[in-house]
């Protein structure tokens, strides 16, 4: 009896292992997609020396994957990867055509539309057609302001001008971003979105090296969100700005002492203690 049972058990385990991996389950799809991405990464590593035939084969495989697994979360990533492949080969028109297909397919999803229009803007930017790119970025801010991408683009634009050494345009873009985020912050004051918007306003001032306004924004946040959200990060940032940018040791010490008093177990506690010791030596 025991012998028959153990034999059956071994056969059962063997059969389970034999048939494992035969199902077209999520794992099998992930495995297939990972190997596809590996091929795409070979193209991204060196796009200019990749033969056109290799690109065609890779794109065909991605399209085949999308056709066979249309509802898989990786299908969307595959569509974006095809656009990236074209962009890496400087086939910008083909990349935009691919992205427009994605836009039409996922018209009901704000997040996907925002991301896709942003990527279309990226293709114009890569082609050095900044005005067309800017048009797309502004369209995302206008139509999809509360998506992840729409929320971050107002900071992307001044960063572009900074990289191109265009300080006047950078400052103008930061001003626009400040107005945009202040508007969001006022609309959503009592929510984490409002807090995040205020944070970005402060980041804009920091980007312009406007330290007094950055501190003023942080003080507003401390007033509005005290007791509602942890503010140790804010206090630490303010202390560093006071000390390193404004050479105001007194206020820096006050901020650090406040941090240690209100958040004694904060992850910044040991750093704050060290910083305070350094300031007291000065």
């Amino acid at each position: 009896m025991k012998k028959i049972f153990s034999q059956k058990l071994i056969l059962f385990l063997f059969a389970m292992m034999l048939f494992s991996g035969c199902a077209n389950d999520q794992y099998a799809i992930e495995k297939e997609y990972w190997w596809l991405k590996k091929q795409a990464n070979e193209i991204f590593k060196n796009p200019f020396s990749t033969p056109p035939r290799q690109v065609e084969v890779a794109v065909a495989k991605f399209n085949n994957f999308i056709r066979r697994h249309p509802t898989s979360p990786m299908a969307l990533d595959a569509e974006f990867t095809i656009a990236r492949i074209y962009q890496s080969k400087e086939q910008y028109a083909a990349a935009r055509e691919q992205l427009n297909t994605v836009l039409n397919k996922h018209a009901k999803s704000d997040q996907i539309c925002a991301e896709t229009i942003f990527l279309i803007g990226n293709t114009y930017e890569a082609e050095d057609k900044w005005p067309l790119a800017l048009e797309k970025y502004k369209a995302v801010i206008q139509k999809y302001p509360m998506t992840q991408r729409g929320f971050s683009i107002p900071m992307y634009i001044p960063a572009y001008y900074k990289s191109k050494f265009q300080p006047e345009k950078m400052v103008a873009a930061y001003q626009e971003a400040i107005d945009h985020y202040r508007n969001i912050a006022h609309r959503f004051t009592n929510s984490p979105i409002g807090y995040q918007a205020y944070n970005l306003v402060a980041d804009c001032y920091i980007g312009m090296n406007d330290w007094p306004n950055a501190i003023s924004t942080y003080n507003t946040m401390l007033f509005k969100y005290k007791g509602k959200l942890p503010l140790d990060t804010l206090q630490m940032t303010m202390a560093m700005i006071y000390s390193r940018e404004m050479q105001d040791t007194a206020n820096a010490k006050i901020k650090l002492q406040e941090l240690l008093k209100e958040y004694p177990h904060s992850r910044f506690a040991s750093q704050a203690k060290k910083f305070l010791k350094e300031l007291e030596k000065k």
Partner: protein
Amino acid sequence: MSSIGKIYSFTFSSLKSRPLIFVPFLFLAVIELISLCVVYFSPQLPLRLFFGPIIRTFWGEQFLHYPANFALLPKLASLSQKADYLFFGSLMSSVVVVMVSQFFRKEKMNFKSAVRTGFKKYFHVFAVILLVTVLFQYSMKAFPFVLYKYFSAGHAKLLFIPASLWLSLGVIVFNFILGILLQCAFIYSIPFIVLENLKFGKAIVRSMVLFKRLFLPTLILTTLPALLYIPIIILDLNAVFLIDTLFPEFIFLVAIIGLGLNVLLIDPLITLATTFLFLESGKNSLNR
């Protein structure tokens, strides 16, 4: 050193003249290979239905997806090997010890009687291996914990060595040495239980006394074969790098090679050699 040479000479001649001694190791290798295959297929249907919730609870959802499951594979393989060694290795070690003693005493090798003796002594040997496993698991966690506390208090170095090196290489070296020492301390418990009919507690004490008496030869016989496993340890620690650079299934290949090395080379060398040393030391004690 001449005694080490003599012991290894016994070991290789026993394997050459009585290859039957190798059968328990082969059996254990097959069991461990099946376990390893179960671990490999665990994120896939149908095994996922059973193992999915377990992996999700203890390690997280990400390890049920390709290729992240290979980053967890060395850990799961190690756990399954420990379980296999505990349940099956307890029996196999006893069988090997009996067969080695039959060879040493120039008796006729009787596999069936060795297995019978192995079953009789199973629970005592199981208790010894369980104790060693538990001690190793807790000690393995204690050292990094102590280091972490020390460096969290603000110290940047210990014995002029920076924290980063201690917490990476230091922990690995410590665990390796700890494993060797624990194995050495308890290794003679099994021959004491199987051949001299001692109970669990007394066998452990006598094993430690004998280890103290045969400190250097035991250390050499245990450490030398164990050094062969170091490349596998290094490869396991760099699983993520290997997944990205080569291909994810390489980790499974490393696990199979590690299993083969451990069960078919390192284990036989250590078990046979230390058993011969035990028998030789017993003979020498009688002759005094």
